[in-house]
């Protein structure tokens, strides 16, 4: 299904529509600007309906996992005040000029001598955004387009293969509420293998927004025209860092460890922000073993509360781990010294190396040593993948460790229980997304 200027078309019309799309987009961009306040209005209107339960039936038919949680998050995110707040946080002083079309006024900053006095700064949408959305989270394609609309861009969306019509449905509803949005959104269900179509969409765009793993990003880099900005929201890795546990009061430590365990189990370690490795600021393996023995009961308690895994999934993971070992035995590769502490539906693996890597997920966490002084050297090996560090340490050294983690390249530093919690106005992988979807135009008067 294709959504083109608010109209639905069969997939077979793609070629014909693509041929006229550039003309249509050019017409839109030369004659009209999207009124961002109307976008906010429309989104808030849908939010109200969502909250009132108008779409409950439709949503129930999708049978999504953890629906209520997700819905709550969506409602919180799409509230008018939330949207306004987000624009303010991310665009700062650029917000008003973008929305009103008035030039940027810098009130309290007298210009130093020598600068041109008759320059006016305007904030405009980047232009046309081509969104290549991943299928790993429902609603992500729409979310991406929404960011494009909030910054006044024309948006071309390539749906992920897994999309079952939800994205088009939501965008149509948005267009119904606010018809002026129609010519700012084009949705195609082109498969990623249709390189010609992907190329022609990329050629019409000023920015290509790509969500997904390394393969998706690499593919986009191959076909994107040299001049286009590529905005990558790639997959990331996160970990917990524990230091000076003996200096933490028993009661608080207990709570924090339980919170960490619940984070690990409840996110199933599938998120960018999920803890894959628990690093201890320690030198000795004995300390790692001792921690595993201590932490396993917490993890087991959490696993009993969030039974999310099927026996088949667990079986696959156990088998894979076993096959990995056999493979190394047969090939006479060195087998990293590992000790697995198995619990019901979860496990901790004490590893002798220090690499930040993906765990077996689903409540199977890695535990490694990482003395503070080696942090930079080790973590830099994963630059470009670092996202959240959950930090557990005595308050006296928290500031120092936070600074060190930030210097290593981490972009979110939280308590260990809140690694995956989202909050209003948060940056996206170390960046303000909206800031990347606008451009600054200096005009000499």
């Amino acid at each position: 299904m294709i959504l083109y200027k608010g109209q639905l078309y069969e997939t077979s019309c793609q070629g014909e529509l693509l041929r006229q799309m550039e003309r249509n987009i050019n017409d839109t961009r030369s004659n009209r600007r999207l009124d961002i306040s109307k976008v906010i209005e429309a989104v808030d209107c849908i939010r109200q309906k969502l909250e009132a339960g108008d779409y409950d039936e439709k949503l129930a038919s999708l049978g999504m996992e953890g629906m209520e949680e997700q819905l709550k998050a969506v409602i919180a995110m799409t509230d008018r005040r939330a949207l306004e707040y987000r624009l303010s946080v991310e665009l700062g002083e650029l917000k008003d000029p973008l929305i009103t079309g008035q030039p940027l006024v810098r009130m309290n900053e007298p210009k130093p001598e020598g600068s041109l006095s008759n320059i006016e700064t305007q904030i405009l949408p980047l232009g046309t955004l081509f969104h290549i959305a991943a299928g790993n989270r429902e609603g992500l394609p729409v979310y991406s387009v929404l960011e494009g609309l909030l910054t006044g861009n024309v948006n071309i969306l390539k749906l992920p293969q897994a999309d079952q019509g939800l994205s088009i449905e939501i965008i149509r509803t948005l267009v119904e509420v606010e018809p002026s949005i129609a010519e700012f959104v084009y949705v195609f269900d082109t498969p990623s293998s249709d390189l010609d179509a992907m190329r022609s969409m990329a050629a019409m765009s000023d920015g290509i927004v790509v969500w997904g793993g390394e393969e998706a990003v690499a593919a986009v880099r191959r076909f994107a025209p040299v001049g286009a900005q590529i905005i990558e929201w790639g997959h990331k890795l996160s970990f917990a860092y524990l230091s000076g546990l003996s200096g933490i009061k028993e009661e608080r430590l207990n709570e924090e460890l339980q919170a960490l365990a619940e984070h690990i189990v409840s996110t199933r370690q599938l998120l960018c922000s999920s803890c894959q490795v628990i690093y201890l600021d320690q030198e000795e393996m004995e300390e790692i073993y001792a921690f595993c023995r201590r932490f396993l009961p917490y993890l087991e308690r959490a696993a009993a509360r969030f039974p999310a895994k099927t026996p088949g999934m667990q079986a696959e993971l156990s088998l894979r781990r076993y096959c990995d070992t056999l493979n190394k035995i047969i090939l006479e590769e060195s087998i990293e010294e590992q000790r697995v502490f198995s619990g019901k539906n979860c496990s901790l693996t004490a590893c002798s190396d220090r690499e930040l890597e993906l765990s077996d997920m689903f409540g199977n966490c890695l535990v490694k040593r990482l003395p503070k002084r080696e942090m930079m050297q080790v973590l830099r090996r994963n630059k470009g993948y670092l996202q959240t560090a959950g930090l557990l340490c005595p308050e006296t050294i928290r500031h120092e460790l936070t600074a060190l983690l930030a210097d290593c390249g981490l972009v979110r530093i939280t308590t260990v229980g809140r690694m995956s919690e989202t909050f209003l106005g948060e940056a996206h992988d170390g960046d303000y997304a909206l800031r990347r979807y606008v451009r600054v135009v200096d005009v000499e008067n």
Binding site: A134, G135, N136, R137, G213, E214, E215, G234, H235, K236, L237, S238, Q269, L270, L271, C272, S274, Q276, P311, G312, M313, Q314, A315, E316, L317, S318, L319, R320, Y322, C323, T325, L326, N327, I329, I330, E332, I335, S342, K344, N345, S347, E357, L358, M361, Y385
Partner: protein, 374 residues
């Protein structure tokens, strides 16, 4: 291999209780052979600190390192020079990877004794010639899969008047010829000689459905039988609702449920599992089944779900002594069946897998898709 020979000559094919000791000895004997002749196998046992002679009690088989089928798809493990192997079979690798398993004369000889014993018990042999309808591949020199071999091999149980194949080689690939099968059924139903079906249950199901839709109902001559088999996949609990299949067979072909006989085997565990009159797969003396916990890979009690680990000392050429399938199953107490056989019976629930997992943790997509390669 005197213990193996004695085990495979045992008179009662489901007398697992009386053969415990003998089975253990045969396993130990096989294990020693593999340990001495297959370098990779020895490395694995050494790594886990296990020696063949550690098999002192039946319980010790729990600790015998098992080899997942994945190993045979990714490594060639032979305990004999290839020239000594009579058959090299591959599993029907639907995902493109095959297990390479070799069989030597001694193993096949014992296998033959097993087939004869089980076949006689289930009354598969008769001198009366029959028409065969093979719901599977017509043998072709490019097709080494064991399914083809067993399906064809089973047509040798009784003298064959004719053989009709549901899958035929056309222009280099197999194509179903269900119309040809239906025409043959109709033709044979008018004759005097019994008809024997052999092959995949799903194909039989298609054929019967088409016949029902086209209102072609026949009554096959007395003595006609339906033999269903194939790889493991064919026997997942919900693959085809078996009761529906039996009812359809009676309605469309006039073949009673008791004449429908199912069996399965896997290349990695070439033991003939044949169902009892109540359609349960009891463990025969040649094999032992251990269900292992999905977390710890330790054995669980009967009635619990887990990974299916199969043990048999039949083969020397390849160390398939104790193999782990990708399947989840349950081992039930024999007496729950009620057919009179006391050995436990195996129920296969389906293949394990991590499909459809959504994630954004770096590297996860690649990691999860490794399954496709296995």
């Amino acid at each position: 291999m005197k213990y193996r020979a004695r085990l495979f000559s045992w008179k009662k094919p489901f007398d697992t209780e009386q053969t415990e000791e003998l089975f253990l000895k045969a396993v130990r004997e096989n294990c020693r052979f593999q340990y001495d002749h297959c370098k990779a196998y020895r490395k694995i046992l050494d790594y886990f600190g296990f020696l063949p002679e550690d098999l002192k009690e039946c319980e010790d088989m729990e600790r015998l390192p098992f080899l997942p089928t994945w190993v045979f798809k990714n490594h060639t493990l032979f305990s004999m020079p290839e020239r000594r192997m009579l058959i090299k079979a591959t599993s029907s690798g639907t995902k493109g990877k095959f297990s390479r398993i070799g069989f030597e004369f001694g193993g096949l000889w014992n296998g033959l004794k097993m087939v004869l014993r089980i076949g006689r018990w289930r009354k598969l042999f008769s001198l009366c010639p029959v028409h065969y309808i093979v719901l599977g591949y017509k043998p072709h020199k490019g097709n080494q899969t064991a399914v083809t071999k067993t399906a064809y091999g089973a047509t040798l149980f009784t003298p064959a008047l004719s053989r009709t194949f549901a899958l035929k080689m056309k222009n280099g690939s197999y194509e179903p010829d269900l119309e040809g099968v239906i025409a043959a059924i109709v033709k044979h139903s008018k004759g005097h000689f019994p008809v024997r079906f052999m092959g995949f249950p799903s194909y039989l199901y298609f054929v019967l459905q088409i016949m029902e839709e086209q209102e072609i109902f026949v009554k096959l001559p007395k003595g006609s039988k339906i033999l269903l088999g194939g790889g493991w996949k064919q026997f997942y609990t919900e693959q085809v609702d078996k009761q529906t299949l039996y009812a359809l067979a009676e309605k469309v072909l006039g073949v009673k449920e008791s004449e429908v006989i199912e069996f399965f085997g896997a290349v990695e565990h070439p033991i003939l599992y044949c169902d009892c009159p109540r359609h349960h797969f009891h463990v025969p003396v040649y094999s032992r089944v251990m269900i292992r916990d999905v977390d710890t890979l330790k054995p669980v009690e009967n009635g619990q779900i887990g990974l299916v680990n199969l043990i048999s000392p039949m083969t020397l050429a390849t160390p398939i002594l104790s193999i782990m399938t990708d399947d989840l199953g349950i081992l039930h107490e024999g007496k729950e069946c009620g057919c009179g056989i006391s050995s436990p019976y195996l129920e296969i629930l389906g293949r394990v897998g991590l499909k459809d997992i959504q994630t954004c943790a770096a590297g996860a997509a690649k990691y999860l898709s490794q399954e496709e390669k296995g």
